[in-house]
Every structure is written in C-alpha cells, then in structure tokens.
C-alpha cells in the first residue's frame, strides 16, 4: 500500500550540462534518504520541503556533484512517503538505512516525525541533517548524529515578542492561545517565559485541542481583558479561525501574531482584508541579507527557486535546501562520504549560508540563526524585524475592526 516515489537522477542534469563545465562522472553516486510526507496532515508542507531538497540536489549535480578528493559524487535523494505518521516515518528511516544503504539522511517534515526518525538515525550512526523539526525535545536526547539547521521552537514566538517590544507605544500585556501539541506548547511556553522576563504581562494563557472547531469562548474572555498582543501558537486552520472569530466578536487588539499560518498563501486568500496587519515569525524570508556558497544570496536563492517552481519560496523550502547544503559543506570539509568523519565535520561546522549562519551546539541545534518577524501589509508578507534585514516598518497598532472597511 505504501506509495513510493523514488527520484532518480534529476532530469535537469541534461539541460544543465550545457551550462556547467563538468557534470559528475556517471559512476559515483551519493545516496541520501528522506522519509517525507506526501499524504496525510503534513502533505502540503512535505511537498514544500521536497521542492527545497530537489532544488539543492539539482543545483549540486549541475555544478558537477560533491567534490571529495579526486572524485565527484552525483547526489541522489531517495524519498518515501511517511503519510505524516511518526511510526511509519521511523520504519522508513530504518528501511532507507538497512535496505537502500543510504549514506546520509535528510529529515522528514514536522517535530513528531523528526523525533521518531532521529532515534533510528542515532541507532545506526547515520548523520541526519534535518530542517523541519524545531522542538527542543528532539535535541535533548543526547543524540550525536542529529543536526537541525533551523532555529528552535521557543524562538518562534519569542521573535515576535522581541519585535513587539521595539514598537511604540510599547505593548504591555499579552494573551496566548496554544494548540495542545508538543511543538505548539513548547513555543507558547517559550513566549510566556520571554514575556515574563522582559516586562510584558501575560494576562491570559490557554490551551485548546488541535483542530478545534470553535474558539469563541476564549476569545470572549480575551476581549474583556483588552490585551495589547494576541499570540496564537498552533496551525493554519486555527489561525484562520481565530482571526475570523476575533473579527465577528469584535475583539480588537493592537498586535495579532501567529507562529504558523500567515506566511502560507492560504492565509491571505482565505481572510482577504481581515489578514491585514497580522504578524508572524519566519525561519527565513527572501529579504534576509545572508550570503553563502552554492546559492549565493537569499534573494538569488529565491530567484532560482521561482525559476524552477513558479512561485516565491517560503521558509519551508529554504530550510530544506539549507539542510542539503549543510550536508554538502560537511562532506566537502571532511573529504569523505563515511558517516563518522562527516559527523565530526558537522559538529565543528561554522558556515555562513543564504539561509543564515550555521553552527551547531553540543546538542546539534543551530542556535546561531535568529528568526525574523514578518507582517502582512497590502496583502503581501514583508519582513519587519530585525531592523537590519527589514524591508518595511511594522504597522502598529492594528486599527480596531470598527475602524476598518
């Protein structure tokens, strides 16, 4: 029953061969495994991650592959659909290692699947570079072969609060609504800790079940508390629900922020003008000013992605390409395709990439890269914080619903 899509040599090699000096010799292939959601709850995000992985593999192969000594290795990524289920993802990781004999792993989509797969990678001592599982718990297991290029979960909400703290007048109070799952709660707790340490009063903190159908009761309570900030830590569907119900219940706050939702195109399409002014955190945007090997700048990466897929990439694709890139840098640094030396190279890597600085701490977390805060302005997602990379100034406070058209 398991749907298997195996991606053989990217077709584009033939086309790209004319443009690049030396395509990789046909003989040496570096096989990399990636269990990734093509169906199930994370199907959408899984597809974005796959595009990111594919773009990296294609770019590397067009440039002649991975250089190790005198050899060049062509990259081949083997994908299996994990149906967004951790148990299946772990089984597929095992299969990729023990039957397909992959040399390295790229991560699946989401914290629960990454958590499951990391244990398998560690067992076989196969380095896994992951880009789509941000829960700190993944990195608190003492694993030595698991590396995450993305900023950890607690940064998701904290980056929005940091941005909020720079606004005038400075917001004083915050209400937090969080979905009852590993990642969302870690994010919400991170936000609460940051707020309390930095002089923001948390006036409301409430969990709700994932996929909840109605949130009018908590929003009614929030309305009476008149917080300056409403922070939602959950999923796209719930961020839409909160905005729709806040509007109809006339819950007006100056700053709406969501960890997940506003950066996906669905958000603006579904809400229309009600999406205006909403804040979100993002791992990456094409506006950031980083520059590094292979993809050059963030803007150049965005352009290359758009040429291939026809739309501007969001952070899901960028962090996935970054995971491939980091693996490449480690292989080239180690001058080896064996797990152990590449693991050492990853642990001591200190690189700047289009995605941001990458340097792993002892747990395998990339704690060097800050997140950015974005805001929906005129229906577009623009970077507003940190100031060094901002494309526009944040609009604050959001006008009350009664003053909007």
């Amino acid at each position: 029953m398991r749907r298997v899509w195996r991606l053989a040599a990217p077709v584009a090699i033939g086309i790209a061969a004319g443009l690049t000096p030396a395509p990789a010799a046909a003989g040496d292939v570096l096989r990399i495994g990636a269990p990734l959601a093509a169906t199930g709850a994370e199907a959408r995000e899984g597809a974005l991650a796959k595009q990111g992985y594919d773009l990296w593999a294609e770019t590397v192969n067009a440039r002649g592959g991975l250089k190790v000594g005198a050899k060049s290795y062509r990259v081949e990524i083997i994908y299996y659909d994990d149906q967004s289920k951790p148990q299946i993802s772990a089984e597929l990781t095992d299969r990729l290692i023990s039957q397909d004999h992959v040399s390295f792993l790229l991560g699946p989509y989401g914290s629960p699947t990454t958590f499951a797969d990391a244990a398998v990678a560690e067992k076989y001592r196969i380095p896994m570079v992951e880009a789509n599982g941000a829960a700190r718990k993944i990195f608190a297991q003492g694993y030595r072969y698991v590396f995450g290029v993305l900023s950890p979960a607690d940064e998701y909400a904290a980056s929005m609060l940091k941005a909020a703290a720079t606004l005038v007048p400075r917001p004083q109070t915050v209400a937090i609504l969080a979905a009852d799952d590993l990642f969302s709660l870690e994010v919400a707790n991170g936000a609460r800790d940051w707020a309390e340490k930095n002089g923001l009063r948390v006036v409301y903190f409430q969990k709700y079940p994932v996929g909840v159908a109605d949130l009018s009761a908590p929003l009614t309570s929030i309305k009476s508390l008149r917080p300056d900030i409403l922070l939602g830590s959950g999923h796209l569907q719930e961020s839409l629900l909160i905005m729709k119900q806040a509007q109809t219940l006339d819950v007006s706050v100056g700053f709406y922020g969501f960890t997940v939702g506003p950066t996906t195109p669905d958000f603006v399409t579904a809400l229309g003008p009600a999406a205006e002014g909403v804040f979100a955190s993002s791992q990456w945007t094409p506006d950031v000013k980083y520059r590094g090997p292979v993809f050059d700048t963030a803007a150049a990466y965005a352009k290359a992605f758009e040429r291939k897929y026809g739309f501007v990439p969001d952070y899901h694709a960028a962090e996935s390409s970054a995971a491939g890139l980091v693996l490449q840098l480690a292989v080239e640094k180690a001058q080896s395709v064996e797990p152990a030396p590449v693991r050492e190279a990853l642990a001591s890597l200190d690189a700047m990439t289009f995605y941001g600085p990458v340097r792993f701490n002892a747990q395998g977390l990339n704690d060097r890269k800050p997140m950015v805060t974005v805001q929906i302005q005129q229906g577009r997602v623009v970077t507003v914080w940190p100031r060094e990379v901002a494309a526009a100034k944040a609009i604050y406070p959001t006008p009350p619903w009664s003053a909007r058209k």
Binding site: R44, Q206, A213, S216, T220, S224, Q237, L241, Q247, D250
Partner: protein, 295 residues
C-alpha cells in the same frame, strides 16, 4: 453590566449560534438513523461537500453564499438519492456493523476524493459582509452566524412541516413506525427510503454551506461533524426534528460554557459526560420516544 455578566451573556450568544449549526448538521443524521435505521458515518462528508459547493459557487461565479443555499441543497439531494438507491439500500436490512462498515468506507472514499480533487488547502468563504457584527450594547452578534441560525431554524421548520403535514411525510413516518404495515398499505418503501436519505443529504449540504461562511473548510472537516451529529441525536432523541434542534442548541451551549469556564480542552469532556448522563437517565433522549429503541 459587570464584566462577568457580559462574558456570560456573550457566551450564551456564542453557544446558541454554534448550537444552531450543530442542530442543522444533526437533523439529517437523526432522520436517517430514526427512519432507515442506518447510522450514517458519511454524514460529515456530505456536510463537507455542501461547504465546497458553496465555496466554488462563490469563488468561481461570485454567487452570494446565502442565495446559493437552495442550489447546494439541491445538489446534495441529487447526490443523496442515487447514493441511497444504489449503495446504502444494499445493506438496509443488514446488521448495524455492516452499515457502519459501508458508511465508514463511503466517508473515507468521499474525503479522499475531495483531497485529491481540491488538495488539503484550508479555505474560507469570505464575503464583504463576513466580518460584520451587530452591537447589542457591549455584546457582539456576528451577523453571518446569526443569519445562519435563522436559516437553520427555517430549514428545520420546513422539514418539520414536510414530515407532519404532507403525504410524503406521512409515508416516511409510517415506514418508520411499522415497515410491514406501510408496505401492505402500498407505500413504495424503497422510494421513501431514498427520498428520506436525499432530504437528509440536502440538509447536510445546507449546513455545510452555512459552515463555510464562518469556519475554515478542508476535506477532512467532516469527521468532527459526524461525531457532533451523533451526540446531538442521543441528547435530543432520534428521528425528531425538534429533538435534534434542542439537542444541538444544548450541545453548543454546553461546549461554549465548558470552554469558557474550564478551558477549550474541556468542551468535549463536559459534552460527553452529559451524553453518558442522558443515556443513563433518559436513554431515548430528551424528546425521543422510548418505543424507537425496541428491537
């Protein structure tokens, strides 16, 4: 008005509006269960289809979602009739387990077809008036949801009149109360079953259309509504339109107050506790008749 009272009253509005949606979802489910003796686990997927019909009519042709509700109902009626004749009717005398399996399979099929056709994207019907609300002093009455409640009440009233005042309604009720006698009186039972199912599908479609106006929609949204319909039927009693309405409003209020006072994680705990209580104290539901549970 004290803030506590204000919150309590606002939650009464929230609960009633939510309950109105639940009621309309449950009416058709109750009808099929009470009359065909089939627990239709695919009911939620019919609600989902109704939501998408409304969504596509609005986004493709800019047709007002309220104005297209009759079309949505008609579309689902047209789907429901052959669905019952060709599929559900095959197992109409089979055991409960078989009907469960069949309708569960149907639900999976419809949901996954929708997933394949329309992707997992989360969508919403956002009209220029979607965000409006009427101010009742310090309270807010969301306009679209208030109209939706009225539409739900209207649809239920039409259904009640249909069941109690028309020949078709008499035939449906006769079939439900004594199948053999109805058959001997010359009632075309197979057709009555198909019509009942189609009417139920139409109300599910209208409910879906109303839901698409206030809530995000996606192919997997149906499962939650099947569960809601189940609870409402047990609360209110089977096969009765007023029962389904009362059960729906009660469940909406219960969930809203539970979410307000105990937290949103408790809304189902409270709702199901009351469900168990009702099953113990009044197994036929608040407005149900005990005879229905014989045999």
């Amino acid at each position: 008005m004290s803030p506590e009272l204000q919150i309590a009253l606002q939650n009464a509005i929230n609960g009633l509006l939510l309950g109105g949606t639940y009621a309309l979802v449950a009416v058709g489910f109750s009808l099929v269960w009470g009359i065909l003796n089939v627990v239709n686990l695919a009911h939620g997927s019919l609600v989902m289809l109704g939501a998408y019909v409304t969504y596509w009519l609005y986004t493709r042709y800019r047709l007002d979602p309220f104005a297209t509700l009759p079309l949505t109902g008609l579309a689902l009626f047209g789907l429901g009739y052959p669905l019952q004749r060709l599929v559900i009717n095959q197992v109409i005398r089979a055991s409960f387990l078989i009907t469960f399996l069949l309708t569960f399979g149907l639900d999976l099929l419809v949901t996954n077809l929708a997933l394949a056709a329309w992707t997992a994207d989360v969508r919403a019907v956002t009209t220029p008036y979607s965000g409006r609300s009427l101010a009742l002093g310090p309270l807010a009455l969301p306009l679209v949801r208030a109209i939706a409640l009225l539409v739900a009440l209207g649809a239920a009233a039409v259904l009640q009149v249909l069941l109690t005042r028309t020949r078709l309604g008499s035939a449906i009720r006769a079939t439900a109360s004594d199948l053999e006698a109805a058959r001997l009186m010359g009632i075309p039972v197979a057709r009555v079953y198909a019509l009942t199912f189609a009417i139920a599908a139409a109300t599910a479609g209208v409910a879906g259309g109303l839901i698409s106006l206030s809530f995000p929609i996606f192919p997997a949204m149906g499962a939650g509504y099947t569960l809601i319909a189940f609870v409402v039927c047990v609360l209110g009693g089977l096969g009765s339109v007023p029962g389904a309405f009362l059960g729906g409003l009660l469940l909406g209020l219960l969930q809203t107050y539970a979410a307000a006072w105990l937290g949103p994680n408790y809304d189902n705990i409270v709702a199901f506790s009351v469900l168990v209580l009702v099953l113990v104290v009044r197994p036929a539901g608040l407005l149900g008749r005990v005879e229905r549970f014989r045999g």
